[in-house]
């Protein structure tokens, strides 16, 4: 459903091996933050060439670029050194600057995004605050094309190819709360035009934003189409390595990946309040992790009676948790 990114290439001209290696590594690290997908190439016919200012090879490359229209040259130099006219990247390289320059080139190269005039054509429009903000962000991400969102003093850039979104503020529960504030409308511009906007200072993965929005929305009701009566399952475990793990979320997940439960069943089995269960399900639903299945007929007649199947691990796990200082069960 996401738009396929354009594949672009970067090469270097006249750089010492160490700097070339650094650029190769940086490309790997920023690959899901740029508008297009960039990869390193040995070929002089790449889309972009990062050139050492003093290198004679670089002058040859620039001359070639004038005739052939490619590569787009970017001069690499320390801030106090003059460079020929054209795009410039300061050395030492900051990844944000590299991202911004590559996005600028993406804009020049065109590709699937219409010309920069789009930005003028699409006026800023408020979005009905009745649409849950989290659902709106999820839908915008799914549509492709990207978007710029401004709400309550916070700006978000959703780039189509990127796994990462960029924010004006560091992502936190408090920021998520501000984004859900009904007192302010969201302004949305589509599509996101690369290179036309300043690169925002903070980044987060798409699912991290959606998760926090789901939790911050509270548990008064489930997001459509889920209802309290619908048994739900989780299709997979969320990446709790990146989401601040709360024990009850992990307990809920452990139950929900095994078989369907309704909100009431979950609340009973992990001793959590209904709003807490709903907020968790909303967060998981925004991340696309929730599924529904018809209620199956479960217990099999040949299963031994409950009393005879005593837990093997229950006692020892409590003991291990205690020794490791793991609370929460």
């Amino acid at each position: 459903m996401l738009q396929q990114p354009n594949r672009r290439t970067v090469t270097t001209v006249g750089l010492p091996a160490r700097k070339e290696q650094l650029i190769r590594s940086m490309l790997l690290a920023v690959t899901d933050q740029t508008f297009d997908a960039w990869a390193f190439s040995e070929e002089i016919g790449a889309d972009v060439a990062i050139c050492e200012v003093d290198s004679p090879l670089a002058s040859v490359t620039v001359a070639r670029a004038r005739h052939a229209g490619r590569p787009h040259c970017i001069w690499l130099a320390p801030p106090d050194i003059a460079a020929p006219s054209g795009r410039r990247l300061d050395d030492p390289i900051v990844s944000r600057s590299l991202i911004a320059l590559l996005d600028e080139v993406s804009s020049d190269l065109g590709g699937d995004v219409p010309a920069a005039a789009i930005r003028a054509a699409a006026p800023e429009r408020p979005v009905d605050s009745g649409v849950p903000f989290g659902s709106m962000v999820r839908d915008l991400l799914a549509q492709g094309g990207g978007a710029r969102i401004v709400k309550n003093g916070i700006e978000l850039h959703l780039a189509p190819a990127a796994g990462q979104i960029r924010l004006s503020h560091e992502l936190s529960s408090a920021v998520a709360q501000r984004l859900l504030d009904p007192a302010d409308h969201a302004r949305v511009e589509q599509p996101l035009v690369p290179g036309a906007l300043a690169v925002l200072p903070h980044a987060a993965r798409q699912f991290e934003l959606l998760w926090l929005l789901g939790l911050a929305g509270g548990g008064d009701r489930l997001l459509a189409p889920l209802t309290d009566a619908t048994p739900v399952v989780l299709k997979q475990w969320p990446d709790f390595g990146r989401l601040s793990p709360v024990p009850v979320h992990m307990q809920l997940t452990a139950r929900l990946v095994r078989r369907p439960h309704t909100v009431d069943e979950l609340s009973a089995v992990v001793s959590a309040s209904l709003p807490d269960v709903r907020a968790f399900l909303n967060a998981a639903a925004l991340c696309g992790l929730v599924g529904t299945r018809p209620t199956p007929p479960y217990p099999a007649p040949d299963q031994p009676p409950a009393a005879a199947t005593a837990p093997r691990y229950g006692r020892i796990l409590r003991s291990i948790r205690s020794a490791l200082g793991l609370g929460g069960h």
């Binding site: 590594s25 790997l28 690290a29 690959t31 899901d32 796994g163 997979q236 475990w237 990446d239 709790f240 390595g241 990146r242 793990p245 024990p247 992990m250 307990q251 997940t253 452990a254 139950r255 990946v257 095994r258 078989r259 089995v269 479960y298 217990p299 099999a300 299963q303 031994p304 009676p305 409950a306 199947t309 005593a310 837990p311 093997r312 691990y313 229950g314 006692r315 020892i316 796990l317 003991s319 291990i320 948790r321 205690s322 020794a323 490791l324 200082g325 793991l326 929460g328 069960h329």
Partner: protein, 187 residues
């Protein structure tokens, strides 16, 4: 009544952080069986685990939780069988900077299939900060391929909290499985 051994296994490719993970939680300095790595072409590390790493945590009541790290390379797979025997669970660690880490995971899921099928496995993907691709979706796809659902988390096992998180998730899985058994429910 209770399990025969209180034992946790840390498995995964060379350099994924098995020894580090054990070191992060063991009470004793881990016992290592490191030898000189003669295959520097395949991996730059100077040493490699030849038999096992061993660590311990003392439990209330005086029993011990034993922590075992396996050697990573495929030629030592006989050790994986030996060590996994009777284990409470296995922590599979993947290094996202390796050439084909998804295939690495496939090998380990197959090697530990019984433990994995019994919901007693957790997967930790390391080095995702510097190497964001492959994304975790690729690993979920491999688990689907093997017909199992396993928790998959981005972690840095140099951090004790991340290792504890992996174990916490593992235990919650086991508890959910047990809970179903007690309730007489078949998954």
């Amino acid at each position: 009544m209770g399990p025969r051994e209180y034992k946790l296994i840390f498995a995964g490719s060379m350099g994924a952080g098995k020894t580090t993970a054990i070191g992060a939680i063991s009470e004793i300095p881990p016992v290592l069986t490191d030898v000189h790595n003669t295959d520097r072409g395949t991996h730059a590390k100077a040493t490699t685990t030849a038999a096992l790493d061993y660590g311990e945590v003392t439990l209330p009541g005086g029993d011990k939780l034993r922590l075992y790290g396996t050697p990573g390379q495929l030629r030592f797979d006989f050790m994986w069988q030996i060590l996994a025997e009777g284990a409470l669970g296995v922590v599979l660690l993947v290094d996202n900077s390796r050439p084909d880490p998804v295939d690495d995971l496939r090998s380990y899921l197959r090697a530990f299939r019984q433990t994995v099928a019994g919901s007693r496995a957790v997967i930790g993907i390391g080095r995702t900060e510097s190497h964001p691709l492959p994304a975790l979706e690729a690993y979920h796809a491999v688990a689907d391929e093997c017909g199992v659902t396993v928790p998959i988390l981005s972690v840095d096992v140099r951090r004790r909290d991340d290792v504890l998180l992996l174990l916490n998730v593992l235990f919650m899985q086991i508890e959910a499985f047990e809970s179903d058994l007690v309730e007489g429910v078949r998954a």
